[in-house]
Structure formats: structure tokens, C-alpha cells
């Protein structure tokens, strides 16, 4: 051993105080990074919350709306009127909801009418609060044919700040309108029960609180989920869109899951380690990254024009099925890969063939993984818009494809009807034709369709604010669906990890 060398003279860190100062400054950097990182994640998650919250608050009126179909469809001033019916002695009266008079001026004339029974000629505008665009207003007995009669009321909200204008709103409290029910067909009359909302087809305009009804039908309280799209935003719903989405998803599922699972099984269990396999692998990774719009172009060229499948549910389902195929394949492979070789060896050792091993061991064990992947795939497919826009999915579909269940339906065919029409013309006592069984199972596949994302896209593109409400409401439904599917997948994955015992 030689003599010890003295410590290096310029080793600054032997000075503990300096060292602590140095650490303190570095830890500040560390801490500020910690905070900014947490903040970024928090903000990102916050954006998700804001997104959902915004959609929900914007879309809430549309989501929760229920309204009277008939009355809204044509509004006051046409031949329809809706309200709640009450039996009064021998007759009936109908109570229609309170309405806001949208463009009435706060003039001396209108002020003079307050508290009086007035008649209004006007049009009802859609929306959550019934608003009447007033064409004419006057004392009820002076207006010969009013669309609506009632008592006029004026409310004045004091200004929020001094200097602001007070807000004046005119409401009409419609008086009960007596119905002359003579003309109503008997079976409709019997359907009248006090308190039910009903719609009337009117013969005349309202005259002094009385009108004659031609037909009456219980008002269907429609809502967002049970209405077709419409030019009237207040009336439009996503019935055809969600039905379309379900049908398209059905095809997507049937196309993607078996094909994807089979491909995954082949690649993991059968594929030799050769060039072809590695090409297939790279190819699948690339397919997963192909922009969705390209899939749309492929579908347009191949399915719509070359194979002439049309702009149908089938085309859409197949397109999305191929689009999510890589997701299913990758999930299947990962699920299979996590099964230890011992299981295969044990099965083969017992004399099982390769397929039997797969069928009775590999498939059941990998099923949860495949399922998770399939759910993720579906959640991706459900929100896809661009490919469907490209194949020309229609936005205005006010009908439903014929239901896939039951596949066999009873109906009267066109020929039956025409033979019957001819026969009846000769002999009025000819029995009406009996509905016969028809196979209708596949018709929905070739039907035109719309889906929720497309409906959303279309509504967002419209200038009217009310349509934006509908768009938001559709967004809520769509987002709820994708988030639920994703949540389900996360949950399954958690459980899977916990249950994994090998």
C-alpha cells in the first residue's frame, strides 16, 4: 500500500452545505415537473369530462324532450291541434299548453289586451317552449277564425342591472276549448279518456273557444329515441340512426370477429416462421394504421361499384368489419400467446389433434381476451364516420330497414292485393286475402341506412342552433355507448389479469 493521496482539492461536493443547496434546486425542478405532469393529465382527463358535460348540457333539452306529435307537426293555424282532453258534462274540452307569443310588440295595443280573452292567428314554432309567431292578435270575438283563444298575460322581469332593459314576455293562457265531437268516428270517441293528451284533426278554425273535430287520436309523446330525423329540429330524433347503428354493428361483428379470431389462431398456432408470416404480420400492423377514409374509398370502389352491393347496411357493416379486423386479430394473438405451452403439450400428449387442442383448450382460455378485443373493435366501429360518409350513407332516412327478426313475416303481397282488388270490384263479398308467410330475413342487409355518427355529422353541419342540440344529444348517446364498451373492456381486462393463474 502506498501513502494515501489527499482528496482532490477542487471536489466541491464534499461541502455538504453546497451539496444541499444543489439538491434543493434540483428537487424544485423535479417537483415542478411532477406538478406540471399531474396537471397535464388532470387537464386531459378534465377535457374528457368537459366534453361529456358540454354534450350533456347542450343535448339535454333534445334528449329529454317529449312533445305532441300532431300538434307540433303542423302547428296552430293548420288543421291540427293538440292538448289534454277533459270530459265536462256531456261534452269535451281540450286544454292546450301555455304558449309564449314570440314576436308580439310591447305596444299600447297589446297592453290593452292583457287579461282579456284574445284570439290569435299564428304559427307554432318548434322547440322546448311552444312559441307562437303571431300573425294577428285581437279580442277573441273580433277575430273570426282564431287559431287559438285564451287569456293574455304580460310578465315583466325587472332589469338585472340598472340601465338594462326590462324583459317583457307575453304568454297566452289558452282557455279550455270546447270540442264538438259529433263528427268524430265512434271508435275514436270511445278511446277518449279524461286526462289523455290527444290530437284533433279540425274541420274549422277555432271559433270562440269551440271547434269541430274530424278525428282524434291519442297524442304520441315522442322523444328523441323514437323519432325519425326531420326538417324540424324540435321533432327530429335518432330512431333510424340507432337502429342503423345496431344493424351495421351486427354485420361488422359477424364479419370481423370470426375472421379476426381465425386469422389470429392461424398466425399463432399454425403459421410457420417464414417470410410470408412476417409479411402478414407487418401487413396487419399497417392495416391497423390505414386512415379510415381510405377504407371508405376502398368500400366505394369495391363494394358499392364493383360488387354492386349498393350503399347498404351490408356494405357499411363489411367496411367497418374489415376496418376493425386488425384490432381483433391482434387481440386474439395476444390472448393466445399468453397461454403457456404446457397446456398445448398436455393436450397433445393425451393424443388430441392440433385442432382438438385449439377447440377444447386454446379457444376457451383465450376467449376472454378475444372478447375484450372484440369489444374494443366494436367501440371503434360504432364511432366511425368517414368511411360511411364515403360510401354515401344517407343522412335523411325516415324509415327503418325491415326487422331481421322474425326472419319470416306474414304479409299480404302486392299480387294478392291486386287480385283481391279486381275480385272485390266484381263481387263485394270476396273474402279479404290472408297474409302469407314471406322470408324477409335478409332484406335489411340491402336497405339504405343511416348511423348515429353520420346523423351527428349532418346535424353539426347545419347552421340552426336547435340542430346543434340534437347533435349534442346524439353525441351523448354515442359517447355513452363507446365509453360503456371501453369501460367493459377495461373491466374485463382487469378481471382477466386477476384470474390469470399460470
Amino acid at each position: 500500500m502506498t501513502e494515501p493521496t489527499p482528496p482532490t482539492p477542487d471536489a466541491p461536493m464534499r461541502d455538504v452545505a453546497a451539496l444541499r443547496r444543489n439538491i434543493a434546486s434540483r428537487k424544485r425542478a423535479d417537483k415542478s415537473f411532477f406538478i406540471s405532469g399531474a396537471l397535464i393529465i388532470f387537464v386531459s382527463l378534465g377535457i374528457l369530462a368537459v366534453l361529456f358535460g358540454n354534450l350533456l348540457s347542450e343535448g339535454w333539452p333534445a334528449l329529454t324532450q317529449t312533445y305532441y306529435t300532431k300538434a307540433d307537426k303542423s302547428g296552430f293555424g293548420r288543421d291540427d291541434l293538440g292538448g289534454e282532453i277533459t270530459r265536462v258534462g256531456d261534452g269535451w274540452t281540450v286544454q292546450i299548453p301555455l304558449a309564449t307569443l314570440s314576436d308580439i310588440k310591447d305596444s299600447d295595443v297589446s297592453k290593452g289586451l292583457v287579461g282579456k280573452k284574445v284570439g290569435i292567428v299564428g304559427r307554432l314554432r318548434g322547440g322546448a317552449i311552444p312559441q307562437i309567431i303571431v300573425r294577428e292578435i285581437g279580442l277573441a270575438d273580433q277575430i273570426a277564425a282564431a287559431d287559438i283563444t285564451g287569456t293574455l298575460e304580460r310578465t315583466q322581469t325587472p332589469p338585472a342591472k340598472p340601465g338594462d332593459e326590462a324583459e317583457v314576455v307575453y304568454n297566452i293562457l289558452p282557455g279550455p276549448l270546447a270540442v264538438n265531437v259529433d263528427k268524430i268516428p265512434a271508435e275514436e270517441k270511445s278511446a277518449l279518456v279524461s286526462g289523455t293528451p290527444v290530437a284533433f284533426k279540425m274541420d274549422d278554425r277555432v271559433k270562440e273557444g269551440r271547434f269541430t273535430a274530424r278525428s282524434v287520436s291519442p297524442l304520441i309523446t315522442k322523444n328523441f329515441f323514437t323519432s325519425f330525423p326531420s326538417r324540424n329540429p324540435g321533432e327530429a330524433g335518432i330512431l333510424s340512426a340507432w337502429v342503423g347503428t345496431l344493424l351495421v354493428m351486427l354485420v361488422t361483428m359477424l364479419a370481423a370477429i370470426p375472421l379476426g379470431a381465425a386469422a389470429g389462431i392461424y398466425l399463432e398456432e399454425y403459421a410457420p416462421k417464414n417470410r410470408l408470416t412476417s409479411i402478414i404480420e407487418i401487413n396487419i400492423a399497417n392495416l391497423a394504421g390505414v386512415p379510415s377514409i381510405i377504407w371508405g374509398l376502398m368500400a366505394l370502389g369495391l363494394f358499392v361499384y364493383t360488387l354492386a352491393l349498393g350503399r347498404s347496411v351490408l356494405t357499411a357493416g363489411l367496411t367497418l368489419g374489415l376496418l376493425v379486423l386488425p384490432i381483433v386479430i391482434i387481440a386474439t394473438r395476444e390472448a393466445i400467446r399468453s397461454i403457456p405451452n404446457t397446456i398445448r403439450e398436455a393436450s397433445i400428449g393425451l393424443g388430441a389433434t392440433k385442432w382438438q387442442t385449439i377447440r377444447y383448450h386454446i379457444l376457451p382460455y383465450s376467449m376472454p381476451g378475444i372478447l375484450t378485443g372484440s369489444i374494443i373493435a366494436m367501440s371503434r366501429a360504432i364511432g366511425e364516420t368517414a368511411p360511411l360518409v364515403t360510401i354515401g350513407a344517407l343522412t335523411f332516412i325516415a324509415f327503418l330497414p325491415r326487422s331481421p327478426i322474425p326472419p319470416i313475416q306474414r304479409e299480404i303481397s302486392v299480387e294478392q292485393q291486386s287480385t283481391y282488388d279486381l275480385a272485390v270490384a266484381k263481387d263485394p263479398s270476396t273474402p279479404p286475402p290472408q297474409p302469407q308467410l314471406h322470408f324477409t330475413g335478409g332484406e335489411w342487409l340491402t336497405s339504405e341506412f343511416t348511423v348515429m355518427p353520420i346523423q351527428l355529422f349532418q346535424w353539426v353541419s347545419r347552421p340552426q342552433l336547435e340542430f346543434h342540440q340534437n347533435a349534442a344529444a346524439t353525441g351523448v348517446v354515442l359517447l355513452a355507448m363507446t365509453l360503456t364498451l371501453n369501460g367493459l373492456a377495461i373491466f374485463l381486462r382487469f378481471r382477466l389479469r386477476r384470474n390469470l393463474k399460470w
Binding site: 494515501p4 493521496t5 482528496p7 482532490t8 455538504v16 451539496l19 439538491i23 428537487k27
Partner: protein, 275 residues
């Protein structure tokens, strides 16, 4: 102090630790350690690390050598819920290394470590060595250059790499990588240098180089080394501690421990009857 385990049919008692001659750099007092899963890896260890000397930790696999070594620079703090009990007192300030009030970063700046598997960073040779200085925010280029050269010379690597300092540290051979890691640890002028089986992954020639280095380095730094190789311990260490199942069985001057162990357990181990 009684040992709980009995290898073979041998009943044994841990030998009380010998006090070291000369100044003590670190004193381990009643030190126990629990891993996050509740496993107690160290049981009431008492040990003194002599300044500017090499202290070797030997013992069968799983006896807690690495656990003890890693306590010296608080590596266990990187993983949640590991618990230290007792003290490791560092001279000259007499601070408790494992005290919760002490910042592990401060300790790691004073107590460096070289790992079993060489772990150079994916950076140039120069930047690997300069890492500790960069981390400290050292901006003086001349000083950094000087330290890098000194450290590489100190790690007996300078001549091999001086012409390719900007090449990746990962491009070196295993033995060179380990010496690079030693240079990296030296660059910040640590007070204690910990080696965890530094030659386990190296060929005999590289091993010799590293061993020579260890002997050379103790002039400037206190060294604690974990090794499986008893010849290595005999070659490089001034003091040796024999551990078994989380306990310190015997601690003594290397020569004495290898020639005349007081504890029959130690003898059994040295003669290769278990381990």
C-alpha cells in the same frame, strides 16, 4: 445474539463484531430491513466500515448482501414500502444514512454504486462519465473534461477509450463497460463506493483489472464490495463480513476470517460445505 437457522446439524452463535482499526467511515448499528412484501431480509446487523479500506460482504446467495449494500445509498427508497430499522452512521458528521429526514439524493451523491451487470447509459462514453457532474449542474467545461479524464484514468480505461470518447458507452465490451461504470461513479468523487458483485459478468482478464482497480481506489475512497468469490474477497478486502440468512455471522480482518474463523458457520462456508 442467536441465529435462528441451523445448516446441517450445526448449532451456532453469531460472533460479536470485531471493531476495526483506524477511522470508521460508516457504522451499521442494529440494522434491520424489511422488503415491501414484509420479508425481513436483514436482521439486526452490526458492522463498521473502515475508512479508505475495502470491506467485503460474503455469504450464500439470498443471505442479504445486496440488501445491506443497497441500504448504504438508499437504493431501497426507489421502491415503495421498503422499511429500514436501526442506523447506519456516516462519519464525519455522524448522520444516520437511513434516517427518514435525510434526503436519499444527498446520500447517493456521497455514496456511489457499481452494479453487478454493467449498466452504462445510452450515451457517449464521455457523457456517461460526466453524468454525475451534469446532474449536479456542473457547467465548467474545463473542469468536466478534467474530471472525465481523471476518472477514466482512475478506472484504468483512459488509454482504451481516449480516442473515441464520443462513441456510445454501449459499444464497449463488458469489462470495459464495467470500468466505465466505475469511472462514472468516481467522477463525482464519492466518499464511499459500493460494488455489488462487480465482476460477476466479466471474463477473468477483466476481473483482474477490476480487482486491481478496487485495490488502487481505496487510496481515495472507502469501498464496500459484495462478492461470491472468496478468493476475490481474500485478494482485495481488508475486512470481510460473512452473512447468512439476513444475519451477520462473523466480521473480521480478512486474513483472520479466512485463516482462523471463530465461528464454525464461517468455517463451514469457507470450506464449501454449504452456500
Amino acid at each position: 445474539m442467536t441465529a435462528t437457522a441451523t445448516p446441517g446439524n450445526l448449532k451456532f452463535t453469531a460472533t460479536p463484531p470485531t471493531e476495526v482499526l483506524g477511522p470508521v467511515k460508516a457504522r451499521v448499528k442494529d440494522f434491520s430491513f424489511h422488503y415491501a412484501n414484509g420479508f425481513q431480509a436483514l436482521k439486526s446487523i452490526n458492522l463498521s466500515v473502515a475508512e479508505n479500506q475495502v470491506t467485503a460482504l460474503i455469504g450464500p446467495s439470498g443471505c442479504g448482501k445486496s440488501t445491506l449494500l443497497r441500504s448504504f445509498n438508499r437504493m431501497h427508497d426507489l421502491y415503495a414500502r421498503n422499511r429500514y430499522h436501526g442506523e447506519i452512521i456516516l462519519s464525519p458528521e455522524n448522520i444516520n444514512l437511513v434516517g427518514p429526514e435525510l434526503d436519499p439524493i444527498e446520500i447517493r451523491m456521497r455514496v456511489s454504486m457499481v452494479f453487478q451487470k454493467p449498466n452504462p447509459f445510452p450515451k457517449s462514453i464521455f457523457e456517461n462519465v460526466a453524468f454525475g457532474l451534469r446532474v449536479r449542474g456542473e457547467r465548467n467545461k474545463a473542469y468536466v473534461n478534467q474530471r472525465v479524464e481523471e476518472s477514466l484514468r482512475g478506472a484504468a480505461l483512459w488509454d482504451e477509450v481516449k480516442d473515441r470518447l464520443d462513441q456510445s458507452g454501449l459499444a464497449l465490451s463488458g469489462g470495459q463497460q464495467q470500468r466505465l461504470c466505475i469511472a462514472r461513479a468516481l467522477a463525482t468523487d464519492p466518499e464511499i463506493l459500493l460494488f455489488d458483485e462487480p465482476t460477476a459478468a466479466l471474463d477473468p482478464i477483466s476481473t483482474t483489472k477490476v480487482e486491481d482497480l478496487v485495490v488502487e481506489l481505496k487510496k481515495t475512497v472507502t469501498i464496500v464490495i459484495v462478492t461470491h468469490n472468496m478468493q476475490q474477497a481474500a485478494r482485495v478486502a481488508d475486512y470481510t463480513a460473512f452473512m447468512y440468512l439476513g444475519e451477520l455471522i462473523e466480521f473480521d480482518v480478512t486474513n483472520k476470517l479466512f485463516t482462523t474463523p471463530t465461528n464454525p458457520m464461517t468455517e463451514q462456508y469457507l470450506t464449501g460445505r454449504f452456500g
